[in-house]
Amino acid sequence: MIEPNPHKSLFVASAQTKRRATAEKRFHMLGLTAIFIALSMLAILMTTIVAKGSGAFQQSFITLDVALLEAKLDKKGTRNPDNLKKVTTFGYAPLIKAALEQVVVARGIETDLTSKDMAAIVSKSAAAQMRDRVLNDPRLIGTTTEFKFLANSWIDGYLKGRVTRETIAKNKNISTAQLDFADRLIELGIIEKSFNIQFILGADASDQRPEDAGIGVAIIGSFAMMCVVLLLALPIGVAASIYLEEFAPENRLTDFIEVNVANLAAVPSIVFGILGLAFFINMMHLPQSAPLVGGLVLTLMTLPTIIISTRAALKAVPPSIRSAALGVGASKMQTTIHHVLPLAAPGILTGTILGLAQALGETAPLLLIGMIGYVATNMPETVSQGLLSPNSAMPAQIYEWAKRADPAFYERAWGGIIILLIFLVTMNLIAVRLRRRFERRW
């Protein structure tokens, strides 16, 4: 029996009300704490990445006037391109030494260094840089031309504070005398730090010259793979979802397919990599390390994501819209194409872009199909050779740099992460914009 209630004032909180209020307050605080922890983690992550990676966008350059002696570069004096090509980078190296000796004499720098040790502060890429320019423009032979060479990574590190006289005490790559010499050149303005566009546009470089390494070719590799993924995964994923959601009969086979699509989304990405290795490379004999294969593997990986998000978007379209279309005599397909699909488009687009972003950041499957490692081709060749030429991808390039011994590569790995994150954030922003633009109310 419920007893008739004695009068109670609303101004006096009962014990139970107080307990409930405390519990709610506690829950509120828990939530706030969780958000705070998440945000501070993000802040720490971002600060670390920017602090460690921003150095990669700056590089030390040595500006030298080099006398391009005809006696060294074109003994016959004919300017015949075939003859010019016979002079290797070894033929150019002495010119750098001479140019540095010239500076020492002209500026009155006191140093005990041999000319070979002096030239060691210039990047090993310098000779190739001169040779390329001379081959492009043979008229330069016989003149004195100004070149802006990359400084060796140790000198670069010295300018950035990564290398000090203490840290190189036992280092055979660089000596204190060379640092003293570099100090003099810095005072004279011959060595300067400036923005390094080659990091964004260039190709990877060998272990010997981290200062020359760039992520540009890997960006192209990633871009090519994303094109393959978008062209394959979007139509296949959307078609599969429409069939499963709108047309498939309800039976065991459909259930089986649905369960397996959901399971595929949870398969570790490296499994897709080994599948790609076995199927696309070993069975279908597609070339190794090619963005086409990478794109196919990432398509397999992205498909479940796109299918799941597309199905969710289709499911969210109110059934009344389908009834309305069927009611005026639209066929099933007309109903889907004219009404359901446009309404589901924002969800599909968001899912696709998020799937692409996931694929863009994926490294593991690329390890197995060989899309990793040192890619020597430069910008124009990589683009023209297209989907079948060996290439890397941004995350794979970052991984490759991070595992190399030279600390200068470590800095480039962080710099690469900044670029990768810029791409990912841009894609997510596009997803948000598209969602806003296509969103309609009903």
Partner: protein
């Protein structure tokens, strides 16, 4: 010739003209027997009301008439439903063509999230009813006029249909159904989401539509059935208890069950 087609002489003998004729219709959802042996003859150019308590099968039966039940899984329809003497469940019949002939208006106004114009023009477009743009404009205007909403929307045909009030939306939906030039108009509680003023407008409209269409309306309001219909069918527990002239059903019902329902003792 199709054996299901009844000769014109035979049709002419039954007066007034029978538009829809149902014989022993049974509907099963999985194990539920939703409609049990319903037979009814729905006359043309009149309003037929289906009344009965919730879950009595009146909406299910309505949805059999344009085969909207086809879209519901595990729904089995047996028996014959003939429109103009043609069996609509014949394998030769394309439900899409049927639904152009038998239009439907739903309980909740469900305009497409497109412009008012596109809402009404959609049917004629997919059925190829308009020769050109001006023809289509004509069809849209005529449909909106018949649905008694032309005056309210003629200046904003490109505005979204979803931005209208509930009553206006429902009239746009009626215009959309009319635009495909149907012969039968099925209405599934078209006024249940509307206020009394909008309801009055729709009722007036239904009365006018009777001139050109056979209207079948499911309603929970017995007053509405009494006001607008010429024939009334009372459903209970999946069976058609009584079917006759509205006046007779409401003033002098044959069955005690019908009397209990219309006097408010059951349902």
């Amino acid at each position: 010739m199709n054996e299901n087609i009844i000769s014109h002489e035979e049709l002419a003998m039954t007066s007034p003209t029978i538009k829809i004729s149902a014989r022993n219709v049974d509907v099963h959802y999985d194990k539920t027997h939703a409609i049990r042996g319903v037979s009814a003859e729905i006359p043309s150019n009149s309003v037929t009301a289906f009344i009965g308590p919730s879950g009595c099968g009146k909406s299910t039966f309505l949805r059999c008439l344009n085969r909207m039940n086809d879209t519901i899984k595990n729904c089995q329809v047996s028996g014959d439903i003939l429109i103009d003497g043609e069996d609509i469940y014949d394998p030769k019949v394309d439900p899409v063509q049927l639904r152009a002939k038998v239009g439907m208006v739903f309980q909740k106004p469900n305009p497409f999230p497109k412009s008012i114009y596109d809402n009404v023009a959609y049917g004629p477009r997919i059925h190829g009813l308009a020769r050109d743009k001006s023809d289509l404009d004509g069809i849209v205007e005529q449909a909106l006029r018949r649905a008694a909403i032309w005056g309210e929307v003629k200046d904003r045909l490109s505005a979204p249909g979803t931005g209208l009030s509930g009553g206006q939306q429902q009239r746009v939906c009626i215009a959309r159904a009319i635009a495909t030039a149907p012969e039968v108009l099925l209405m599934d509680e078209p006024c249940s989401a509307l206020d009394p003023i909008a309801t009055a407008q729709i009722e007036e409209l239904i009365d006018e539509l009777r001139q050109n269409y056979s209207v079948v309306i499911v309603t929970h309001s017995m007053h509405q059935a009494a006001r607008i219909s010429q024939k009334t069918a009372f459903f209970h527990m999946g069976t058609l208890v009584e079917f006759g002239d509205t006046k007779t059903v409401f003033t002098n019902p044959r069955e005690p069950q019908t009397e209990s329902y219309i006097t408010g003792r059951i349902g």
